[in-house]
Amino acid sequence: MISSVSSSSSSSSSSSYSSYDQHQLDGIASVRSYIDRISTGDGKCHGMKVLLLDDVTTQILSCVSTQSEILSREVYLVCRIDEPHHARGGGGGGGGSHSLALAEEDDGTSSVAHVSHMKAVCFLRPTEINVGHLVRELASPRFSEYHVYFSGILSPTLLDLLAESDPFERVKRVQEFYADFLPINPDLLSLNCRNTLPMTSMLSKTANSSTSQIRSSIYERNLAGLQSMLLALRRQPAIVRYQKSSIAARRLATDVCDGIRSDQIFHFLRGSGKPLGTVGHVGGGGQGDRQSMSGGGGGGSSSMSLSMSSGGGGNNSMLLLVLDRMDDPVTPLLSQWTYQAMVHELLGLNNSRVVLRGVPNISRDLEEVVLSSAPGHDAFFQDHRNSNFGELGEAIQTLLRDYQAKSKMNSVSNLRSIEEMQEFMERFPELRSQSHTVSKHVAIMGELARLVEVCNLMDVSAFEQDLACSDDQAGHLRELMSKLDSPIVKIPDKLRLGMLYALRYENAVPSGSIPAVKEAMKRGGVPPDGVGLVDAILKYAGSDVRGPGLYGTNRDITSKLMKSIMTSVQGISNVYSQHSPVLMDTVEGAARGKLPGQTHPMILSGGGTSTNVDGMPLPQEILIFMVGGVTYEESTKVNQFNQANSGKVRVILGGSTVHNSTSFLEELKLVRNGR
């Protein structure tokens, strides 16, 4: 909530201190408040506005806001800055003699004249490409004013470049608003940055090809995203730890620490004794801004440190944990049974959009639907995104029954008098939106149920869970072979089963079963490309590369014994949700202060690393960032953990992207090709 406390805006920021008190770690709320400020031009841009976005910021904006919301803020045009708009007149195209082309050009120039009374609000990532587009735009400005907001830390050279190339002085404001990630759920953040799996292996090599450049741009994206998560949540991590087995995690953690040390923007009024960093990257006026920024203004400082200590229980409250997908290749391969995860696994949930085109018996307006967790969108989805398939069926049934009761009450035949008709008219819009919600969820549910039936998923998933959770090589091999030969099981499922088996029994004593499995996979119809992925996943996350923890190998004998006794006494509550991701062991360990330093070392303030983590205070907040992407299963588990520990610990899960098995396997192919 704390805005840039430059002298002019100090009044507005001091009024926002009060809301800071209720500020809990909530990704959606943070990004929303940024977007609110951007779409109003931070209160300084009135009148008709145009929003200029880039590829990533478009996704971020649409994740938390809607068309009608930005329309109500007088944003009447949204366009991409990287789009070659035809409004650039006077270019003198080759086919200019043609009458049609001429007409088009005329049209273009006239529209330049006609939109130039509008003001432009730019929300862009601070990349060279975007600044280049902006420079080109400023050379022949189409709009009367430019308010530029960057979603991350802008490098001083780019700021210089921008300042050099504004001959008409159209830029009114330049500001950094750190909304550089997509808040999918309040406790799940994603960068929507694909192809990060190969990063793990590529970083270790000093590759000289062009791929290394692509990797490094992906790495920069991840670093900027993680930094913006910290800034948007207004937290300076007290401790930064990383997963030892991953070089990518280590480098990311080190770089984040360096960034925090060198830029005062990260310093959120800790104890006054803490020395603030001295190297600001913009000198002069920028430095002054920065200091007043981190100072937070005189009036508000006391209340803020108060709320900090009450909410966080002292100074050292947040733990930043950088992990790598590599440690747990099993979770993205499993079938999912909770709503959000299931939709993503079976239908694909991209930027909270689900494409239902091609589904049998779908009506036209349901060909693409929105499943968003942002507040005010879809209360049903918000409540049930973590419910399992069975609960979901019941919930949808009650939803349908409620709706039917309501619509019966409001049916047209019941209308006898004018008054009733008028009342109906008033309730009609609400009823209509409800009807849309109901039909949307019913359609999705119907399709999920159909896919489960067609793909024989109940059966497959039970075996997957068994493969992931228990040790019985002979039995598993027998069942796997029968599944691979069975014509009912779909080919992608065969591939997943084969990979799960290979991961589990990679180093089993009677070796040689894996080649046999591969043979069986080929026989079962898996393309050779897919069979190759078995080797790829073993290379990417085989037992000698990944850290301990998968399949409970880091648990000692007693806890293993305890667990087996517990399961034998209580029985397994749900066959389809036995599996618990490695992440949860890590989270629980970290929350109880029992995460060993051998596997997850700490970054020292001096720059080195240490495996000695004894005597560290327990974290009240944990931000986990997983290089290579997270899964909805992990998000669901984290959500359950937060609910069980509300008031004590709050965990926010962030990742490069959110995987389903399809996207995970696609990226694995890159790993294989990269080597």
């Binding site: 996704q59 329309l71 366009c79 529209s111 509008m118 300042a163 330049v174 948007a232 913009v282 006026g285």
Partner: protein
């Protein structure tokens, strides 16, 4: 939710950069009069002229861009905004008037009050119509302009329509409440007047025994007439209000076409942007197709073919007649 303001740093740098630029541009601007004088002397230096023209053009563009008046439809938008604020003001007045009307049962200014309410109601209704007219004009003129402007126009229409719709819904609700209250009061009022009538009768009986026998007297007739007049006036009042509701309903329906359903895919920002790109793509495809068909040589070939045939036939004709 930290943020950082780089404006002051940026402005500093920009001023420095522009100052530098101006000082470096300085000498070339001194060239300009030289070029003009050369032109006066009739010595045409192409290169200098071109540079001059460019500079002039640049200045012209600059002036044009900064002093460019917003298109006409912006005035319409302003008009709609003004109308909306008018409607807001009037509706709030109307609500208080309704309240005071409902509050009073008797009184001489009752009719006057009702008349005023009536006038206000029609005023608001006409304002709604006016706003809608302006809105349609915005749509029409921006659609004519095409391109980005039509998109802006559509979005402006949508946003204003949303505001108008919620306003009109509020207004109609207020009207309806008032109507039902007045109706309730009317039936109550009738009973009251009957009671008054009864009391009058008793009064008549005790005070004016002369009229005891004349039950169908003139006085009684006049009371009935009064009642009838009252009923009629209330009736017209109610029908008028109903009419205004009807009109508003029509507007409501027209506006509803413009308003987006919230929560659907149509309300997604990225979906809309993709749709625009898609539209542009199909537009370009169609343009290309049109160009191709225009360029295509088939019709020309036909024409030449026919001309050739005609010539041959003519030759044959001439040859035949020579014999």
């Amino acid at each position: 939710m930290a943020s950082r303001d780089l404006t002051s740093a940026f402005l500093e740098r920009r001023t420095a950069a522009n100052r530098r630029r101006r000082s470096s541009v300085g000498p070339s601007s001194k060239m300009a009069p030289f070029g003009i004088s050369q032109m006066k002397h009739g010595i045409v230096d192409d290169h200098l002229l071109m540079e001059d023209g460019n500079a002039l053009n640049d200045i012209g563009n600059n002036v044009h861009a900064s002093a460019c008046l917003p298109p006409d439809w912006v005035d319409d938008v302003d008009a709609v905004n003004a109308t909306i604020s008018d409607i807001r003001r009037l509706t709030s007045e109307l609500t208080s008037m309704h309240a005071s009307r409902i509050g009073t049962v008797f009184g001489r200014d009752l009719d006057d009050m009702e008349r005023r309410i009536e006038r206000r109601t029609t005023e608001v209704t006409t304002l709604f119509r006016k706003a809608e007219r302006h809105l349609q004009r915005v749509g029409a003129s921006t659609r004519r302009a095409g391109g980005e402007e039509s998109l802006v126009g559509a979005n402006v229409q949508r946003s204003l329509a949303m505001q108008l719709q919620s306003l009109s819904a509020d207004f109609r609700q207020g009207q309806r409440r008032y109507l039902s209250d007045v109706k309730a009061q009317k039936s109550g009022g009738l009973m009251e007047s009957e009671a008054r009538f009864g009391i009058n009768l008793e009064d008549d009986g005790t005070l004016q025994s002369r009229n005891d026998y004349g039950f169908g007297s003139v006085q009684q007739m006049s009371v009935v007439d009064d009642l009838q007049a009252e009923i009629q006036s209330r009736d017209t009042e109610i029908s008028q209000i109903a009419k205004s509701i009807e009109e508003l309903g029509a507007i409501f329906k027209e506006l509803a076409v413009l308003v987006i359903d919230q929560g659907t895919i149509l309300d997604r920002i990225d979906y809309n942007m993709e749709a625009v790109v898609e539209h542009t793509k199909t537009g370009i495809q169609q343009l290309e197709k049109a160009e191709k068909s225009q360029k295509s040589a088939r019709p020309m070939k036909c024409i030449f073919c026919l001309l050739f045939t005609i010539m041959i036939l003519l030759l044959i004709l001439v040859a035949k007649h020579r014999h």
